[in-house]
Symmetry: C2
Subunit: 343 residues, 2 copies
């Protein structure tokens, strides 16, 4: 019998219709052609001249910027969705509202190795990628024009990646994105009512029940969410209450790297290297106040940062676009079982 489940974080309902398909191989056939020739890849080491100048890199102290030798490199996107110059002007036209498209759009090159995947990288390399996320979020969040900094990764053609070379992206926007707002509104409401963090309660329940757990270590836990929108959707949370990713210490980032590598390897092995997206949800930026420190309000009580990983195995059609309701053919309990047993 199909089931409707509601996500307490987003208040989204999901249709679990698990009669339709059941084994990881039912979602297979995602093997993609990988580049053989890397001579035109603008993200490879030695090709630094093909990109805008770097804004951050992990490289030997005596090496020059925009030369080879880096481990991780961050550059502005050559074709940005939003541009970084100018003020945020808000205007209206009759019934409509608009705003100038000011923002930041950066590319984080995760490794000089064109052929690496996150499941195969060294943990220390992944930690450097996470360090770059932290550095760039911290640098951008204090810009009073921006309300949010979203870090995300597209992997594989069906995941929307236009380049094969391992990379993540960051987009800063003058508004808080709708999904983050939804999560924040619900977790704030929950905190105001119960004086407990919604996410902490959710993590406690997942650790207690256990049938959706994928991985855990001292600091982090990965599980398939109760109301998974997609087959094998997986969320990673710090076990303790932390509102902001960018406040995590190096030791925590190292444990997150261990967790991320493990989960990525499980997904890769279970689903034959599937296309995927992940997104990092941290708090919105503090509200700027001219002449005073930025205002955090109750953000650090209400929110709990996390990473949402979405393998791109199913396509969204008219029903999903028209309703905002997802039909998921794979139960999260079944998906977690496959992911636990693969290794």
């Amino acid at each position: 019998m199909p089931e409707l489940r509601k996500c307490p974080v987003s208040e989204r309902w999901v249709v679990l219709s698990t009669e339709r398909s059941k084994r990881p191989t039912d979602f297979g056939g995602h093997k993609e052609e990988k580049d053989k020739d890397t001579s035109k890849c603008p993200l490879c080491a030695g090709h630094e001249g093909m990109t805008p100048p770097e804004v951050l890199a992990w490289r030997p102290a005596n090496s020059a910027p925009n030369t080879a030798g880096w481990d991780v490199r961050v550059i502005p996107n050559k074709f940005p969705a939003l541009i970084s110059e100018g003020e945020v002007n808000r205007t209206g036209i009759g019934i409509y509202d608009m705003m100038s498209g000011v923002g930041a759009h950066e590319v984080m090159v995760e490794t000089p190795d064109h052929f690496a995947t996150m499941g195969d990288m060294e943990v220390s390399q992944i930690e450097k990628v996470l360090w770059a996320y932290k550095e760039r979020i911290t640098a951008i969040e204090s810009d009073p024009r921006f309300r949010y900094v979203l870090v995300f990764k597209n992997y594989g053609k069906a995941g929307g990646a236009s380049l094969n070379h391992p990379h993540s992206q960051l987009i800063a926007t003058p508004i808080t994105p709708r999904y983050v707002k939804m999560e924040l509104q619900n977790s704030r409401k929950y905190f105001q009512e119960k004086e407990r963090c919604l996410f902490c309660d959710l993590i406690r329940q997942e650790l207690g029940v256990g049938d959706r757990l994928v991985y855990e270590n001292e600091f982090f836990v990965a599980f398939t969410p109760f109301a998974s929108r997609f087959p094998f959707e997986t969320w990673i949370f710090p076990r303790q209450h932390h509102a902001q990713f960018q406040e995590a210490a190096e030791e925590e980032r190292m444990q997150l790297a261990v967790c991320l590598k493990d989960v990525m390897l499980r997904l890769k092995n279970t689903l034959s290297d599937p296309p995927y997206n992940y997104v990092l949800h941290t708090t919105p930026n503090p509200v700027p106040r001219p002449g005073k420190p930025a205002y955090w309000g109750t953000l650090k009580l209400d929110f709990h940062w996390h990473i949402e990983i979405i393998p791109r195995l199913t396509s969204q059609a008219g029903f999903e676009w028209g309703s905002g309701l997802y039909i998921n053919p794979m139960s999260p309990e079944q998906a977690a079982k496959f992911l636990r047993e693969i290794m």
Copy 2:
């Protein structure tokens, strides 16, 4: 310069980043392999035995159900996402809410002609399809277990269609889908404040400005929305205030068929027969009250039915999934101009 625009209906912000691509041919290359052999198509005339028994058909009065001779035929989906038997049981598990997956899932076969497209069909044939929508919504909306009946169409593989034969679908759910709820909440708020329909104001503004208009006739208007999420997204509205599609008279359905055919032909010619989805947004079902007539409340004042057409030309990646913010590389004014000038 990119622009952020806000949709007054959904309150979604959209990033218009029109530096990235500009001509309809930039989204081309969607030519799909069509079936040549129709012998295995379960929706073709003469194959009625390959489907569950029909629940509605437009056919000669003296013909037997589930035989050839129909113009339009409605059947239960053989692989339904929700099932029609049983009660709606609501339960909770700790922090989580769930509900039994009771619903209806039907397929409307739009024509016996396997190779027809909506742009090429006779207007009278399209009107019969719309008649079938009306009949089925009316039959299902009074079932007290269901809160909504969503009619939608998937066309082309990238549009999520698993069969080539022209067909629409209907899914009835025990909850009002999130997007419909968002639209209703915003239009209700607007009506309470202004005592005017949000959609009527929006239509008036679009007719006045004109640069997003695609088509209009006596009863209907088609335009690309101000905050289009997707290139060539097009909405169709009745010009006069009508909350419910299913209340439209035959003459209005005929005019809608003329409008739909025209818009579909424009999209087909401009974008080389693109994959697409459309959805019909009518009011949620009235609230059942045992022993009394169902309760409509202010639904018929607040809402204004419409059809949203989404050509599937761009793919959604990590940013969209993680933020709920869409990046659209084509301005609606430019898209409308292409659609106006094609014919």
